[in-house]
Symmetry: C2
Subunit: 408 residues, 2 copies
């Protein structure tokens, strides 16, 4: 097998952790696998570097920030290479530039254009282990770029695709994806296999285990991701193309996000182009609108309700109050104590009645649904924040996800 192993900041956060990470690399080599490694900066290091820059300047230039923080992964790559070499493994560190990660020039959020991977494949075939800095590359002018926070997952998947790996192992401090948050539902189960599409829905709901961008990339190139623990030597969750075994469960998991706010602009004189009028200024402020519902309120007037991240609530309300006057709408209402709860599963494509069951369960708990949004494999409701725990628990049980039932 050819494997890319990716280790996050906590997995390389100290010399002791680097040694344990080296154990995990050594084990794969010992199994006869070809291995390339992608590493993050030692946990805390990126923030330390950013902190120094911010002390010097309120708005440091992106180019310099990228050059600065990119050193974090370079340190880790060198240290892990040194540790691997001390064990007799022919490892060598590569910066983003050395590994061949070519990106565009958008500092702090660069996109990978391509990876010159021929040399990496050649070295891996010869039993050598490239230890590549995650999160970074170079643009066509040789400037160091970074992919943005969490970009190391994306680096790892992109590298796995470029070297034609069989799997991309992403080691982290959790041991996989769960059917829901175990802090809310103690009987939550680890999911053995999940499809890219479902993983994307989980990620978009704030599951911090994998960066959305890395899953999108894995899906596009059909690169299986094995999300696993760097602390426990147990199988984690395989994120891969949908297959037969996945079809057994209608719902794979229940996700939630408390970090939501809801805004309604009422009594807008109805004519074409209203949505663009409303959401244009919000997009310009770089605020991500999520669930959107539009209704006719009375003849010739319409209401629009949408959600935004709670941090952006104040800014969005200011924009809407201004728009309300310009558009001669009646008024603006806001509520920053709402939350989203979703059921997710590729199985719902072939099973009708999932939505009805969800609404029945919530009604049975006396939970009022404020908004509904559906995709092919997800149903999301917006409810009052105070009712999240109860909603998640009831749905987890009702859809047969509790550990005892499914494993009995």
């Amino acid at each position: 097998m050819r494997i890319v192993q990716k280790f996050g900041g906590t997995s390389v956060g100290s010399l002791e952790r680097i040694r344990r990470t080296a154990d995990l690399v050594q084990a794969e080599i010992g199994r006869g696998n070809e291995v390339a490694v992608v590493v993050s900066a030692m946990s805390g290091e990126t923030n330390r570097l950013i902190g120094m820059a911010r002390e010097l300047s309120p708005a440091p230039a992106g180019r310099e920030m990228d050059a600065l923080v990119a050193t974090g992964e370079q340190v880790t790559a060198a240290l892990l290479s040194i540790e691997l070499q001390a064990r007799g493994i022919f490892a060598y560190s590569c910066s983003g530039a050395q590994a061949g990660f070519r990106t565009d020039s958008q500092h702090a959020r660069a996109r990978i254009k391509h990876i010159d991977s021929a040399h990496l494949i050649r070295h891996m075939q010869a039993g050598q282990v490239p230890v590549v800095t995650g999160f970074q590359g170079v643009d066509e002018h040789g400037n160091v770029t970074t992919l943005g926070r969490g970009g190391s997952d994306t680096s790892a998947v992109a590298l796995a695709v470029a070297v034609k790996a069989d799997v991309c192992d992403i080691y982290t401090d959790v041991d996989g994806v769960y059917t829901t948050d175990p802090r809310i539902v103690p009987r939550a189960r680890k999911i053995d296999r999940i499809s890219y599409e479902e993983m994307l829905e989980f990620a978009s709901l704030g599951a911090k285990v994998l960066q959305t961008r890395s899953v999108e990339l894995a899906m596009r190139y059909d690169m299986p991701i094995h999300l696993r623990s760097s602390f426990e030597p147990v199988p984690g969750t395989i994120v891969s193309r949908e297959d037969d075994t996945m079809e057994r469960a209608v719902i794979s998991g229940v996700a939630y996000n408390r970090d939501e706010a809801k805004i309604t602009i009422r009594g807008i004189p109805d004519h074409p182009g209203i949505a663009a009028n409303v959401f244009g200024p919000v997009a310009e402020a770089a605020i991500n609108v999520d669930v959107i519902v539009q209704n006719v309120s009375e003849q010739g007037y319409t209401d629009i309700t949408f959600t935004v991240p709670r941090d952006d609530f104040g800014t969005t309300m200011d924009i809407m109050h201004k728009l309300c006057g310009e558009m001669q709408a009646r008024d603006v209402l806001g509520d920053d104590t709402v939350a989203k709860v979703s059921v997710i599963g590729v199985g719902m494509r072939s099973h009708s009645g999932v939505a009805k069951k969800m609404f029945d369960v919530l009604a049975g708990e006396g939970i009022n649904i404020q908004m509904i949004s559906t995709s092919e494999i997800k149903i999301t409701v917006v409810i009052d924040e105070s009712q999240v725990d109860r909603a998640v628990q009831a749905l987890h049980t009702a859809f047969g996800l509790d550990a005892e039932e499914s494993e009995g």
Copy 2:
């Protein structure tokens, strides 16, 4: 004027120091000069990185150590660029690779082959300030290399040559070169101008102010170095080609080095090739032999005496005891309580009697001379370590270097 400014580790050792260093750059820009900057790692950072590597491996590979420690200067270059930009100066950081420093592949002691400087000159002419990482480059394969400890001075001089600067300002925590150590002679004076040759002699005697290699490079390309304080805004010492004003003083300074040991191998059967026999094994052990004296002792036999750094005394004695048997010499004597004292000055080329005056002064102080070595611009004697202070004081006065006399 076009200037390269170089700042060492203490000059960029904290954010506060980086701000003060930015003042010094800004001042040169304010004078209408074109400026490029070379920086070291923040003081302590290189040792911190090396310490981590050593904890992982007793003998980490040179390639990885270079990749690791090179991040130190990269952090400083980015931070100083950020600070300069916050003042409205168009500064930008360059790693060794980005600045165009091409070196050979000898990790930890790479030599600069050439610098692709066209882009730097173009940017400087446009009023931009390249902030270049000292101490590092890349080899032809793109591997990061370092020039070895203190290599930042060499980087600065090489850059000054490559961009055709008028002067290379090296900022440090001393304000120049002194006629001798002010701790021994309170009336020591700062030297305003000194020739490359004299500076080399001072440096070879352990004056830590400038790395020998950087002075050799400056001499080869006739690049004036202005050695000055980053704390005090006063002129320092200009190291440059010998000129008329330098000829006034016969002696520029008195230097000493306590870090010496003396070894004598006596009664060697005399035949051609003895010196090679004696010094071959010492060179193989990477020990630098300094002063060498060879005498005929009795018919058919010779004695050889030489000095080595005190740290290498034990190793060298072991080598000599072994050789003594092989060469059928009589015996080996060692003394690790000796020191060197030198008078240095280009003026002695045209003034006879300097050596005689030196020996007279030492004799007058009752100091026994154990060895003598001379070059065109330096006379060195080896004496007992306990007599160093007295020798330096007496010579400083006798050659007219004391502050009151010369400035009166």
